[in-house]
Symmetry: C2
Subunit: 407 residues, 2 copies
């Protein structure tokens, strides 16, 4: 089924650590912003999909997270479905909302991504990251990462006082350096570029611009990733109101943003000559939308670490395999470049409250396509793409979603 859904409104909180706010406050802020942006009232919302990843492990609130948030806003009766796919939970909520509307089941559906990831006891946040991998394989994975790090002459303290995902990314980064001559400086260019974009985004967790040198001089987390090359721990929420064609007409939306395609794949153990989930998902998303990489004006990718953005350029076909390092160095992915990537600041600088991330990408891209991104506006942007991955399974992400939006 080809999706046929319109983003009628978007909203999000600033991403940051909110010691005094919980799921309810964060969720309500994003929902109210999205509903108001859509020009509807909460009573128009016929169903809600709520993506969250870590609340059970961080706060103890499991099972009925969406109901708890919406009930506090006075909303009941409507079907509320909690969905979870690690860092792709927000995109999962969106894809389900779009599917419901496209199927003609509802005219107006809310998609919310929300996360309360920070905790004074950091081990709770780390437990949430571990829970996004196969916990039966954690020990084995730690040993493997340690061996790989030692072989590369890197820090071998895998998973110690940091998300193990950073060890996974560092390992991929070292392999990219070995295979293609990519440099630590090029990874730092990603972080520096995104810090520039983040400096223009009032909802970014970090709004300070960093030079390449400053990125390289930050504390080493795991070789070759310095702190500024790793996405931070933070809290926040993002929401989108998804409507049918009929409802979009009723609302008289002047600059409608529609879903050209949204494709999800689960991780599998792919051989070297088989496509990974980003390739699978993006190729299908391009095909469904009748577009190619060259048609995309603005992109948000899942830069949970700086090398992930470089690898994403290649997987998404924005540059040739192995040329991701040169691509960022060329300025093509910088605001003002040919095809800006992560104008929001990305996960590195806007922040990465995991369950909210996928929908925050949609907030950024919808605003870009409607020409309301202020200082970080990509002029004349008509087509946008988001890539959002979650968890780890096999040698891939557990869940991957690529979404193409059109104005």
């Amino acid at each position: 089924m080809k999706l046929n859904a319109t983003i009628a409104g978007v909203g999000m909180t600033r991403f940051m650590k909110y010691p005094d706010k919980g799921l309810k406050e964060l969720g309500a802020e994003a929902i109210n912003a999205a509903v108001s942006d859509a020009g509807i009232s909460m009573a128009d919302v016929e169903s809600a999909f709520v993506g969250n990843c870590a609340a059970g492990l961080v706060t103890g609130q499991e099972s009925v997270r969406g109901q708890v948030i919406l009930h506090a806003m006075g909303v009941g009766k409507i079907p509320i479905i909690n969905v979870e796919n690690a860092c792709a939970s927000g995109s999962t909520a969106l894809i389900q909302a779009c599917t419901m509307v496209s199927a003609g089941l509802y005219d107006t559906v809310l998609a919310l991504g929300v996360e309360k990831l920070s905790h004074e006891d950091k081990s709770k946040s780390f437990a949430a990251f571990a829970g996004a991998m196969d916990i039966d394989e954690l020990q084995e994975m730690i040993e493997e990462l340690k061996r790989a790090a030692e072989a590369d002459g890197a820090d071998a303290g895998a998973g110690q006082n940091r998300s193990m995902f950073m060890d996974v990314y560092a390992s991929a980064a070292r392999a990219h350096m070995a295979n293609y001559g990519t440099t630590a400086e090029q990874f730092a260019m990603v972080a520096s570029k995104n810090s520039f974009h983040g400096s223009l985004n009032p909802r970014a967790q970090f709004q300070q611009e960093l030079s390449v040198e400053e990125v390289l001089n930050e504390r080493m987390i795991v070789e070759p990733l310095t702190r500024a090359m790793c996405s931070p721990i933070g809290d926040g929420a993002a929401a989108a109101v998804v409507v049918s064609e009929k409802k979009a007409r009723e609302l008289g939306i002047t600059k409608p943003v529609t879903i050209a395609s949204s494709v999800m794949h689960s991780g599998y153990n792919h051989a070297d000559d088989e496509p990974d989930t980003v390739q699978l998902s993006s190729r299908e998303a391009y095909e469904e939308a009748g577009l190619g990489p060259q048609d995309i004006d603005v992109v948000e990718v899942h830069d949970a670490s700086a090398p992930a953005e470089i690898i994403a350029y290649e997987q998404l076909g924005l540059c040739a395999p192995g040329e991701g390092g040169a691509h960022v160095a060329s300025g093509a992915s910088r605001l003002g470049g040919r095809q800006p990537v992560n104008t929001s600041g990305g996960l590195l600088r806007k922040g990465h409250p995991v369950g909210a991330t996928g929908l925050a990408q949609i907030v950024e891209l919808t605003e870009q396509l409607q020409g309301r991104s202020g200082k970080r506006q990509v002029e004349g942007a008509r087509i946008a793409m988001a890539q959002n991955g979650g968890g780890k399974k096999g040698n891939d992400a557990a869940a991957m979603v690529v979404t193409i939006l059109r104005s």
Copy 2:
């Protein structure tokens, strides 16, 4: 949208405590059984919805539970979506699978409900129950339940070394006794009846038949609920393969069971004269199916406690308000009676591994409609109904699903 989906195959594990099995083993057993029952291979499955409630809090496995289970079976690439709605997680997986197929998105979708609820540290299981309520209101709720219990002259140790849901059910039971003259003996009749049904079900956690007297003589958990009136803690999994009309024809299913309707509502603070979520959901389900309570041949209800079954009779319109006690006493809901309820043994005796429960109801009813329930077969059953509720919000369940099946 009217659902248009066929149950091509069902399967489940026996429900019980499995100290040596985890999500993967339990999930695989149910999936393999359902896939084999449908006469398909795993390669035919185009997408999966996986309902689980407690794994994060009990085992630490969060976020990507479905991917972990399916990957261990060699399944990747396909979209896997983890859904959660407390004890209604299994029904949520089913309703999403049915919606996808009805929308023409897929021909073959797997719905799995799986739960590893038992743990040598019982506090972990209790934390999972608490996570299905609004955790910000737990303390207040405990105080309120204590006050209510004291006012009724009952045990006031709310939530102490037991699921707080039992205190909630006990409070509802005492109100039903006060309002309608329902007796503890009538609650015991439910447990005794379901123990008889469970004695005929090789997949029931408890297969011993109990007399009304034996039920009444069991240890008191919270007035008026003895242990046999409370569903046990256990583990297990249940699955259904949902297919389109086209796929059903291809498979040449001889006794197709179709979804006549499946309706979900979220809890809200309803006034006394407003319908609760069971009433809302069942009325809509009847209407969509073009049926009434009198048309249903066999029913599975959410008897997490014995009084819940009595109240469900009334909410579903199987008897008049206040007459639930007399209804069970009449034998109408017993195997051989006019409209047998919980022929599987229900949550009380078949067991209640929360995320698996909704789909286990579908397993029982599908088999009943296909005439393969052995000693507990309801002769000539053509129409079946399941009621599955989850969590608590306001004065209602957080999520409620009523599903009507037709053969």
